[in-house]
Symmetry: C2
Subunit: 212 residues, 2 copies
């Protein structure tokens, strides 16, 4: 079965849009999804940035929130323009790696994203995360203990190093088995197309209503 | 008839992708296109940038070229990874305003973009531009003279000021009659959808193969 690596950062609004629909879209395409949590912060820091371009560039940031609001409305997803963007996703990312050890990374990650951007909850808050872990059938205290282990901390750092080595510079990004990289939630369908066909079929980029 | 303003910069690879298909897509949607040439340079300069983020951020730049190459292949467009990106589009932009006075902005702009990104020609070169003007039925010398007039120079500066006031920060951007702004070639279909319906219809964002 073809695969696509789905690289996501819990602070990322567009990662949430991709997370909300990747499993349905991948199943329809016959592609298996490998969920890859990572932190964009170190990649931004390596460029001398201290926060998101959506914060340092106000016009771009305002357009991003409006765009995400429109996408959510079209997809039938709840939308909250959260305060304190970007939120600290370090603990959530470590917990996603823990959840992955139980095969629960997908439902946990979706739960985190929906809590954050659909309900406006603080994903840096352990009580919020404990609720979400329990909701997907995991033991919160065991997960927190495992998340604090050297193994999990090292694994998240290694994921960040791998992301940098692969040339990832934003989230979400999608990487197919042949190493093709796609950036942005609006490239999800093309990444799936590539995973299956090794190229883009025209239908995925043709204008609406036009026969390619 | 609903309208969409299509703001483009001749140095922009994604503006070219939008220019190549906007008229077909807009006609299918029943939307009239208002072509709005402008220069991103002053908007970048206002943020302290001296060139494109695709140059200052090499990972992002490399991904952009690969992405554009994929989109071109899928759309059946020729692709050249040009040297010296971003090219100087000042004279071409002034000439686009001149062409607009004869109702020829659309064919002239498309010709410039295809010469630049499809054939690798230098759009800052007057002999190249003269060929393109003649190709779309305009008198090159008359157009160059008009492009050097205070009126045309002022009109291009005013377009840049308007872009900044509207919160445009990149190209292409699309603005509907009710003031909704969309950034990026991959938002073209959504902008047309908004122009017609005042909202996004789900089909334009639903995953490939999924019934929304």
């Amino acid at each position: 079965m073809p695969t696509v690596e789905f690289w996501f950062d819990f602070a990322s609004t567009y990662s949430r849009l991709a997370a909300a629909r990747i499993e349905t879209a991948a199943a329809a395409a016959g592609v298996a999804v490998i969920w890859r949590p990572f932190l964009l912060g170190p990649i931004f820091a390596a460029q001398g940035w201290t926060t998101s371009p959506f914060v340092t560039q106000p016009a771009k940031g305002g357009a991003m929130w409006r765009d995400v609001e429109r996408q959510c409305a079209a997809l039938g997803l709840p939308f909250v323009r959260i305060e304190g963007f970007p939120r600290n996703g370090l603990l959530a990312a470590r917990l996603a790696l823990v959840a992955d050890e139980s095969g629960a990374v997908a439902p946990f990650a979706r739960a985190v994203f929906e809590a954050e951007f659909g309900a406006g909850r603080d994903i840096a808050d352990r009580t919020v995360l404990a609720d979400l872990l329990a909701d997907v059938g995991l033991d919160p205290e065991a997960c927190f203990a495992r998340a604090a282990s050297p193994e999990i901390k090292a694994r998240l750092r290694a994921a960040g190093d791998e992301a940098g080595t692969c040339g990832l510079f934003g989230a979400p990004s999608f990487v197919t088995a042949d190493g093709e990289m796609f950036w942005g939630a609006d490239r999800l369908d093309q990444a799936l197309d590539w995973a299956v066909h090794g190229r883009l079929c025209r239908r995925t980029v043709a204008p609406t209503g036009e026969t390619p």
